[in-house]
Symmetry: C2
Subunit: 544 residues, 2 copies
C-alpha cells in the first residue's frame, strides 16, 4: 500500500511515531515540567491487537468498495479522545467496524446505504476519525457495522471567485482543501486543532470550531449549501448567500453527526489569503480582569481574528508564560486593508482593564501610507500557537508516560461566567484530587486550566484542560469520573455540553438534559422519516 498510513491509534502518521529514545527524552521533559508522569510503557503494536472477526461479508456485486483489512478496521474502531488514545495504546479495540467502505462517488454511497439497510447493518460515516466524543466508534453491541470512509471524495470541484465560494467534497482534509484553494490564491481559513486530518464533511457534521475567535467561529457560518445522501434520497440546498424561506435546511444538517444523511459535498465561503496580520500578547495579573477586557473587546464590534485568553497556569503549561500572568492573544487580519487601527483600539481596551502588552504588535500590516512591519518578535504568541498544533501529538507521549491529559469545553453568557468558572473549576479540581495520587498543590500537583477559544458579544467559550498523574491501567475509568463531574458542573451551571466538540455518544447523558424535549422528539421523528431502519450512526444524538 503506497499510501502513507495513519497510526492505528493516537495522532499522526505511522512514520511520525517517535523512537524509544525520542519518547524517553520527551517523557523526561514532561516530568521535568509537570512534576508527574512515570516510566514509558510501550504501545501494543498492530500485529498483536486481537480483532473480532468481521460479522459481515462484502457483497460480491459491489466490487472493491468494501475492505475487511485488519488495519482499515482497527484504525476506524476509535476516535481521538484521551479515552480512545489510551485504549488504542493498550490494544483495546472492542468495537471495530466489520467492514470499511471506501466510496468513490455518490452512487457508491447510495449503494452502501441500500445494502446496509437490506442487511440490517449500521453505517458510521467517517471523515478524519478525529472525534473526541465517541462519534465514530461503532459501540453497537451485536449489530454489524460498516464504517463509511469518505477519504476518496477529497476534491475541490468548483471555485467561484466572484462570490468567493467553493464546492468541495466532504472527504477533503484541511491541508487537502487548502492546497487546492491555494492555487487560486484563496483559503477557507478554518483551522480546528484537528485540521491536519479532519475533513470538511466531519466539520459540518459536528459544527467544528475554527480559526476565527469571533464572528465566523463555527463551520456553520462558512456553509453556503450542503448536499447529503440520505437513505430516502439526496438532500441538497440551493446555493444562497442568505434566505428566509422556512427553517434553514442547512442548519438541520449542520451538527447532525451523521444520523440524517451522509454529507457528500458542500459549497463553502472562502476568502483571499490575508495580507495584513497583526498579533499581540497582553498579560494580566488577574484572569477576571482579562475576562473583562475580552468582554469589552467582543462587544465593541472590532471582530478580532484571535482573542484567546489563557489563564496563568495554562499559559505556563504551553510555554507562553511564567505562571504568574494570564495571557490574552489578540490578532487581527485582513486581505483588504490595514488592521493596525483595530489592534490599537483593542489594546486600548485591554490596557484600560489592566493589561500590559508583551511587545508592540507584530506581523504584517499592509498600509498604503506606511512601510510594512516585519514578521516575528512576540514569543508568547508563537509559543502558544506551536503548542496548540502540537498538543494532539504530545498526548500520545503523555499516555505512554502515564500522564492523564484531556480537555472539555463549553460556552456561557457573561453574566454567569464568573460563578460558572468558579464552580466548574472547584468541581473538577475536587474530583481530580479524589482520583489522582500525588500532591494537591505546588510542584507535581494536577493541573486544571482554562482558556477562551472563541468569544461572543454575549459570552465566552471556555475550554478546560486537565493534566494529572494517570492511574496506570485504569485511565479510562479515572478520566470518565472526572469527565462526569465536569459535565455535571457544566450542565448544572447553565453551559452547553459542547461548544465545538460535538455530542457523539460520550456526551449523550448531558446533552439529553440540555436540549429541549420537543426538539428531541422532532429530531427523532425526522430521523425515522429519512432513515426508517436506523442505519445511520445509531446512538449518536438520539436513540432510535
Amino acid at each position: 500500500m503506497a499510501r502513507r498510513r495513519l497510526k492505528h491509534w493516537g495522532w499522526g502518521y505511522e512514520d511520525q511515531a517517535p523512537s524509544r529514545e525520542e519518547l524517553e527524552r520527551a517523557a523526561g521533559g514532561v516530568r521535568g515540567q509537570l512534576g508527574f508522569g512515570g516510566e514509558i510503557e510501550a504501545a501494543v503494536p498492530l500485529d498483536r491487537v486481537e480483532v473480532r472477526k468481521p460479522r459481515l461479508k462484502a457483497p460480491a456485486g459491489l466490487g472493491n468498495l468494501f475492505s475487511d483489512d485488519r488495519y482499515e478496521r482497527v484504525s476506524r474502531a476509535l476516535g481521538k479522545a484521551y479515552r480512545d488514545v489510551v485504549r488504542g495504546f493498550r490494544g483495546e479495540f472492542e468495537n471495530p467496524p466489520d467492514l470499511v467502505a471506501l466510496p468513490r462517488d455518490e452512487s457508491e454511497i447510495e449503494a452502501v446505504l441500500s445494502w446496509a439497510e437490506a442487511e440490517g447493518a449500521a453505517v458510521v460515516p467517517f471523515g478524519g476519525g478525529t472525534s473526541v466524543v465517541g462519534g465514530v466508534e461503532p459501540r453497537l453491541g451485536d449489530r454489524p457495522v460498516v464504517s463509511l470512509d469518505l477519504r476518496r471524495l477529497d476534491r475541490v470541484l468548483e471555485v467561484d471567485t466572484a462570490s468567493m465560494a467553493a464546492r468541495i467534497q466532504a472527504g477533503a482534509t484541511g491541508p487537502g482543501l487548502e492546497d487546492q484553494l491555494r492555487r487560486h490564491g484563496l483559503t477557507l481559513r478554518h483551522f480546528p486543532q484537528s485540521f491536519e486530518y479532519s475533513t470538511l464533511g466531519g466539520w459540518i457534521a459536528t459544527r467544528a470550531g475554527g480559526h476565527f475567535a469571533t464572528l465566523y467561529t463555527h463551520i456553520d457560518d462558512l456553509v453556503e449549501s450542503v448536499r447529503a445522501i440520505t437513505p430516502r434520497g439526496s438532500w441538497e440546498s440551493r446555493r444562497l448567500p442568505g434566505s428566509g424561506a422556512g427553517p434553514s435546511p442547512d442548519r438541520a444538517l449542520i451538527g447532525s453527526e451523521g444520523i440524517l444523511g451522509v454529507i457528500a459535498e458542500a459549497w463553502v465561503r472562502i476568502r483571499p489569503r490575508p495580507e495584513s496580520k497583526l498579533s499581540c500578547g497582553v498579560e494580566f495579573d488577574e484572569f477576571a480582569a482579562a475576562g473583562g477586557a475580552v468582554r469589552e473587546i467582543s462587544q465593541a464590534g472590532l471582530y478580532p481574528t484571535n482573542c484567546r485568553l489563557l489563564d496563568a497556569l495554562e499559559a505556563a503549561t504551553t510555554g507562553a508564560g511564567s505562571g504568574e500572568k494570564s495571557l490574552l492573544v489578540l490578532g487581527f487580519e485582513s486581505a483588504h486593508h490595514p488592521v493596525d487601527e483595530q489592534m490599537r483600539i483593542a489594546l486600548e481596551i485591554a490596557e484600560e482593564h489592566g493589561g500590559t502588552p508583551n511587545s508592540p504588535p507584530t506581523g504584517r500590516n499592509v498600509h498604503p501610507d506606511s512601510t510594512n512591519r516585519p514578521v516575528g518578535g512576540d514569543e508568547a504568541v508563537g509559543a502558544w500557537r506551536s503548542a496548540f498544533l502540537f498538543a494532539p501529538y504530545l498526548r500520545d507521549t503523555l499516555v505512554a508516560c502515564g500522564v492523564l491529559s484531556e480537555t472539555f469545553e463549553t460556552a456561557i453568557t457573561w453574566d454567569r461566567f464568573e460563578d460558572f468558572h468558579a464552580s466548574t473549576m472547584e468541581a473538577v479540581r475536587a474530583k481530580v484530587a479524589e482520583v489522582c495520587d500525588g500532591p494537591g498543590e505546588g510542584p507535581g500537583a494536577p493541573r486544571v486550566t482554562c482558556r477562551f477559544t472563541h468569544v461572543y458579544p454575549d459570552g465566552p467559550a471556555p475550554y478546560f484542560t486537565v493534566m494529572a498523574p494517570a492511574v496506570r491501567g485504569g485511565e479510562v475509568e479515572q478520566w470518565d469520573e472526572i469527565k462526569a463531574a465536569a459535565s455535571e458542573a457544566v450542565i448544572e451551571s447553565g453551559g452547553t455540553i459542547t461548544h465545538h466538540h460535538a455530542v457523539g455518544r460520550d456526551h449523550r447523558p448531558w446533552y439529553d438534559r440540555q436540549r429541549p424535549a420537543p426538539f428531541a422528539a422532532a429530531l427523532r421523528a425526522a430521523k425515522k422519516e429519512l432513515d426508517p431502519a436506523a442505519i445511520l450512526n445509531p446512538g449518536v444524538l438520539i436513540d432510535p
Copy 2:
C-alpha cells in the same frame, strides 16, 4: 375601547387614515410623479363589511380569553400584502377567524391549544399581522379557526447588561420593545419596514430582515434562545452565546412560521445605542458598476450597517435621485469607536468602481482626537430613509387611486447576479406589459425597479418593486399573474423565493420546488410529532 385601534384594512391606526381631501391631494401627487393612477375610490367601511358568522363558540371555562368581536375578527382576516390591502379596501374578508384569543400568559396559550385540539379547530398565531405572504390569513375552507393574538405578551422581562441580552415576550412590537430597552440605554436595532406594528415573535417566526445590511441581517443572528409552546409541551433552549451540541434547536424554530409551536418569548442580543453614525450617498452611472462596488465592499470585511443600492428608477421613485444614476446608501455606526476610517475605505472602493459621493459623509463621528461632525446634510440618504418608512402608508393611497404597487425579494450569489437580474427584470416587465394598460415606455409607463436590501460576501439580496396602473376590480388577479411570473423567474434562475418575507401560503408553490425534498419530509414528520392534530397554522410551509 380606550385602546388606539389599527385600521381594519391596510396600514396604520384608524386615526391616521387620511381625509378625502388629503387623499385627493396625495393621489394628484402620485399621478403627477408616476403618470398613471385614476380617480380616488372609497374603501368599504367596517360597518358595511359582510362577515361570516363565527363557527366556534368560546368555551365558558376560559373566561374572557376569547373574543368574537366583529372588528377583532375582521382585522385578523388578512395580512398586509398588496393583494390583502386591495381585498380589505373592497371589504372582502373571506376568511375571518371565528374567534380571536388574547392570552395573557403561557398557561393561557396552552389552554387555547388544548381547547382547539379538542374542537378540531386550527390556530393561527398572530403578532402584528403584517405578513405579506398569506401567513396569517386563515385560508382553511370549512375548518374553524382561532387567531391567537400575542399582543398582551408585550414586555421586556429581563435585561442582562453584562451579556448584552434581554428576555422579551413575543408580542412586543418594535417601538414597544425599543421603548423598554431605551430606559437602559440599549437597543435591539432590528428595524424591518414593518417595525411599527410587527412583533418579536413574528420576526423570529418569519426570519425577518432588519436594519443591518451586512452581518446581522436577519433576526436569526440576534436570537440567543427561544421559548415556544407546542401542543406537546414547551420548547425552551438554553441561553448560550454559541453551541455545537447537535443541530441548533433555535434554528428549527426560527422560520417555522407558527407550524411547530407558538413562540412565547426569546432572549435576544441587544447593544448600546450607537454614538458614531456616518452616512453617505454615492451615485453611479451604471447599476452593474455599483453592484461591483457593493461586492467588493461586502467582501472586504468592513461590515457597513447600511449598504443599500437603489437602481436609477427606484432612486427617482423614492425621491432620492433624478432617475439617471444608481444610488448607493452607505452607513457605518458604532457605540464604541469612530467609524470614519471604515467609511473612508468603503468610499475609496466605491470611487474605484466609478462612484461619486453626493457629499462628504454626514452624521456624528465620536472621535477622541477630533470634534464631532454635525448632523444632517445628505438629502438623498434622508429622502430614501423617509420613503422606506412611509411606503406602507402610501400604499393604501395607491390602492385607493388605482395604482398597483407591490414588491418581491430574493437573494442570489454574485456569479449569477447579472444574468439573474436581467432575466427576472425581463420576465416581470413582459408580464407587467401584458396585464397593464398604458404606455410601455417613457412617462406613464409601469415601473419595475430593483434595490439591494442586504448584502453578503457571497451575494446580494435584491428587492424588486412594481408600480403600474391597476385593473380596477381585478387587482388581485392582475398582481397574482405578475407575482407568478416573478416567482417563476426567481426560482428558475436559482434564487430563493424569499430572503426575508417568509413563505406563508402565497409562496408555497415555489418554496415546494426550492427546498430539499428530504428536508420537507423531515419537517412534516417533526410537525406530526409535535402537532399531531395539525392545529397550528395549517397550510403554511408544508401540508399536513
